[in-house]
Every structure is written in structure tokens, then in C-alpha cells.
């Protein structure tokens, strides 16, 4: 009962979800600061929404770049 496999699997899933939620939260926070420079309006301008989407994608690109660089540094 202490560590039933069902509970373990559930905890793993929830941990995954928590990690994803944390990443989305952190990224939204940073991209908001970068992209929304003026007072918030009643909708995003197209440049603001494009900036937000770009921000997330560039963050992923950057992550891969850093991984590759680390790998090559270890050789």
C-alpha cells in the first residue's frame, strides 16, 4: 500500500504535469516581460501575439542549442 504501482505511476504523471506547468508559467512570465511593453489593451496587437509565440519557440531552439553545445564541450 505504501508504494502501490498505481500510486507510483500516478505520482510520476502528476510530476510530469507539474514540470510542464512550471515551464509554461515561467516562460509566460518571461515572454510577457519581453513582449508586452505597453499598458495591456482589450486585445493583443498582432505584433504582441506574434512576439509571444516566437518567444516560446525561440526558447525551445535555444534549449536545443545549449544541449548540443554542452555535448560538444564534453568531447
Amino acid at each position: 500500500m505504501d508504494s502501490s504501482p498505481e500510486l507510483q505511476r500516478f505520482l510520476q504523471e502528476e510530476k510530469q504535469k507539474a514540470m510542464i506547468a512550471e515551464m509554461v508559467g515561467k516562460l509566460t512570465s518571461e515572454c510577457w516581460d519581453k513582449c508586452i511593453t505597453s499598458t495591456p489593451g482589450s486585445k493583443f496587437s498582432s505584433s504582441e501575439s506574434t512576439c509571444l509565440a516566437n518567444c516560446a519557440q525561440r526558447y525551445l531552439d535555444m534549449t536545443m542549442l545549449i544541449q548540443k553545445k554542452f555535448q560538444s564541450m564534453q568531447q
Binding site: 505504501d2 515551464m23 509566460t28 515572454c31
Partner: protein, 114 residues
């Protein structure tokens, strides 16, 4: 990581609760608290439900805190002796935009896995 810490803290708390038969756990659901000392180990389902509720609450608290901070920065530039109408409507718009931004970021992250 904030959420991981919360999950592990609550896991600790739950394993302690299992050892203390009669201790009152403020997070336990009505069905598992206040029971006779004959049986007190909550089922896996109850634990999973409790955890889901607690996690949802943790996410909500964190989100609330972030929105509060961002919108204070954007909207309250010169604090007056009360919240002006423009400050209040700025805050309302800011909250909506921030929620929208969260959606844009989530979609961008998950559509990137092509």
C-alpha cells in the same frame, strides 16, 4: 522547483499520517478523517484525489501570485490614495491578456513538437 517541493512535502505529510492513526490531517477528506482507530489508512484513490486537489490549488495560487505581480507592475505606476477607474480597468484587461498569453505560449510549445 516549487511544485515538486510541494508534492514531496505533501507525500511526506501523508506518509506521516499513515503512521499516526488518530492524528487530524487538515487536508484529509471527510471520509478519511475522524474515523475510529481501527482503520485509518486512506485508499490509493482517496490519496490521488487529495493530491489532485492540492496540486490544482498550488497551480492556482502560483498563477494568482504571478498575475498579481505582473499587473501591479503594468497598471499601478503611481499609487494614489485609492484605485482609480483606469487602474481598475487596466487590471481587468491585464488579467485577461495574461491568461491569453498563457494560452499562446502553451500552444506554441506544444505545436513545436512536429
Amino acid at each position: 522547483m516549487l511544485l515538486e517541493t510541494r508534492v514531496s512535502v505533501r507525500r511526506e505529510r501523508r506518509s506521516q499520517n499513515r503512521k499516526n492513526l488518530v492524528r487530524m490531517d487538515p487536508f484529509s477528506s471527510p471520509s478519511s478523517s475522524g474515523i475510529s482507530s481501527g482503520q485509518s489508512v486512506p485508499s490509493a484513490d482517496v490519496l490521488m484525489d487529495q493530491l489532485k486537489t492540492q496540486l490544482a490549488q498550488a497551480y492556482a495560487e502560483e498563477f494568482f501570485e504571478t498575475v498579481r505581480s505582473k499587473c501591479f507592475t503594468k497598471c499601478i505606476t503611481k499609487p494614489g490614495s485609492s484605485l482609480s477607474g483606469s487602474e481598475s480597468s487596466c487590471i481587468a484587461r491585464c488579467m485577461e491578456r495574461y491568461i491569453e498569453a498563457t494560452g499562446i505560449i502553451s500552444r506554441a510549445l506544444f505545436n513545436a513538437n512536429r
